[in-house]
Symmetry: C2
Subunit: 346 residues, 2 copies
């Protein structure tokens, strides 16, 4: 039996929930989005998200320090808030793990949580602790207010829009490839953990300030964070917006650490940039020229690029556009329901 | 080395979080409470909670159907909202489990979630799914609005108040004792699962409507749900309110199913009622006579008793009051950081 993928399970569970899982025709707060959208006290829009992180599925302690695991867990939720143009209100954290995990790792986890909670002004307001045999589980739920109203979501891209991405991609997947290639060799593992790509895996930056700056300067019709791999996240926008995205894949900025790792390993940095997940960069669709005029100012303010990588057209799906004819760009992000992360990292 | 208990871990983690875990001198939304309290722009208070449930720690699939596990997980969060006099807005759910758990159990879990989501008007607005080896983990986070303002919390009990409890206690602990005593004997397990006490374990009722009714009729100075065992939850109020609670333990109403199970097993129904957890009944401190006048109307409306079980005095701690001299009432609820549930159930 072929295992069902995560998205097929979500569809099945929404069906089972029936009226208990409201489907919104306006796309606001639909299950499967990064956030649920609420009308907060006073009528303000609030964004709400939850992310579960499981040892040996989403992270490995021989690859990441506990500090990085805590930091990344909060970063995943804050990146969902960034994709909703939300300002963090706070987070609740649950940890379930063995006695040994509590003794050896929970203090590191909380130091990592604290580091990002402080820089992102997202206080930890509570949570729940459990003993559990087996892998450590960490869940972060975060709330944010949306000062600009309901988030654009994935469904608002319009033919004629341009497609933009923040930052440079590929480093987290490169780091995973280096770590996987190190196997159990302690010296190679230490070198992989010290590689510049590993810093992007350990300390990804949710683009909260960046998105607030952009949303104040341009109408963002669709917005998503690059958490499943940009090829998959482009497909989410194309599906939900019922448009075709034509992507000039040669324009996708590749992180120099990914290029370095590719040279060292003989890996494929283009593939890491296209299909690697947990980048926490943002992918935005906006009217032509609206972001073109601010890209230079963005880059000088935030020290990361803002790059036009394609355009939105009538049609369906995602295509690669370049010198030759268009070719389908298949979603290649890994689905942990089908592939273990270590195997997906190659 | 003696393992740290859950509350000691919470203290240590709050210390590690430092300024990232705001301590509120007014007691509102302090970490360790059932809920975090948020303020919207209109000044309305919202209550936010998260609860993690782990297979073989908080539940066992040989004791409970998947439907009951899903139902109880949402019930735990809704009970926290009830203790905050909040009306549910919605919930997010995470599930992490093996391929077999997804195939065999997740549909049942979601049928149970749906049943309570519908009766409690708490839609499931999203969540996160993960593959994970080891035990199944289920996390529910819920938000509610507090139409009567900030929740009373645990810290407002005043000398002179009376102590009240809704419903009848002891049945969930009795059910666990019956199930534990059945061991692997299939016939005894089936009988234990069909025992009236087991219905209270499988389908606990969060007291949302009851608390709204009470809060409209009496000032509730302190409020908590009986989730850790009433002896422990009384101690939480005494500690946070800096008062002494004098409890006439003979007045605590015992569920008839617990009395029945005690007769069958030779168990101690008083002990189950005092120290059993996950009752989801409410414990309230209110000025003298404020609830006395409505107890009969409460009982006729909700078909459960509202019982005065003691009073609040100057001092510290919790004492049993009866015919003889006062004696300390030690918190005896089980702490899964110290004792496995099957062993705690005897």
């Amino acid at each position: 039996m072929t295992p069902r993928g995560e998205f097929a399970w979500i569809d099945r569970l929404v069906e089972l929930l029936g009226p208990a899982a409201p489907r919104r025709d306006d796309g606001e707060g639909a299950i499967g989005d990064d956030v649920a959208v609420l009308r907060g006290p006073g009528g303000e829009a609030w964004a709400w998200t939850v992310d579960g992180m499981v040892e040996d599925v989403h992270f490995r302690f021989d690859w990441l320090e506990p500090e990085a695991v805590g930091y990344r867990a909060l970063a995943a939720s804050l990146s969902d808030l960034a994709a909703a143009v939300a300002e963090p209100i706070g987070a609740l954290v649950t940890v379930a793990g063995s006695a040994a995990a509590f003794e050896e790792r929970i203090e590191g986890l909380y130091r990592g949580l604290r580091a990002l909670a402080e820089t992102a002004a997202c206080p930890v307001l509570g949570g729940d602790l459990s003993r559990a045999d087996g892998p450590l589980h960490l869940t972060v739920t975060a709330l944010g207010r949306c000062p600009r109203g309901a988030p654009p979501g994935r469904g608002g891209a319009r033919p004629g829009d341009d497609v933009w991405v923040t930052g440079r991609l590929g480093a987290p997947a490169a780091a995973i490839a280096l770590l996987a290639a190190a196997g159990n060799d302690a010296a190679r593992l230490a070198a992989a953990r010290a590689h510049p790509a590993a810093e992007r895996l350990a300390r990804p930056e949710p683009r909260l300030a960046e998105v607030a700056w952009l949303a104040a300067r341009a109408p963002l019709h669709a917005l998503i964070d690059v958490s499943d791999g940009i090829s998959s996240d482009l497909a989410h926008i194309a599906d939900r917006s019922r448009v075709r995205l034509a992507i000039e894949t040669a324009e996708i900025p590749i992180h120099p650490a990914a290029l370095g790792a590719a040279a060292e390993l003989g890996g494929d940095a283009d593939r890491w940039a296209l299909h690697g997940g947990e980048e926490f960069e943002l992918l935005a669709c906006a009217p032509p020229d609206s972001l073109a005029g601010v890209a230079a100012a963005f880059e000088s303010r935030f020290a990361i690029p803002l790059t036009r990588i394609g355009s939105v057209e009538a049609g369906r799906g995602v295509v690669r556009r370049g010198a030759g004819p268009d070719a389908p760009l298949e979603p290649g992000g890994w689905d942990h329901f089908r592939v273990a992360p270590a195997r997906a990292a190659g």
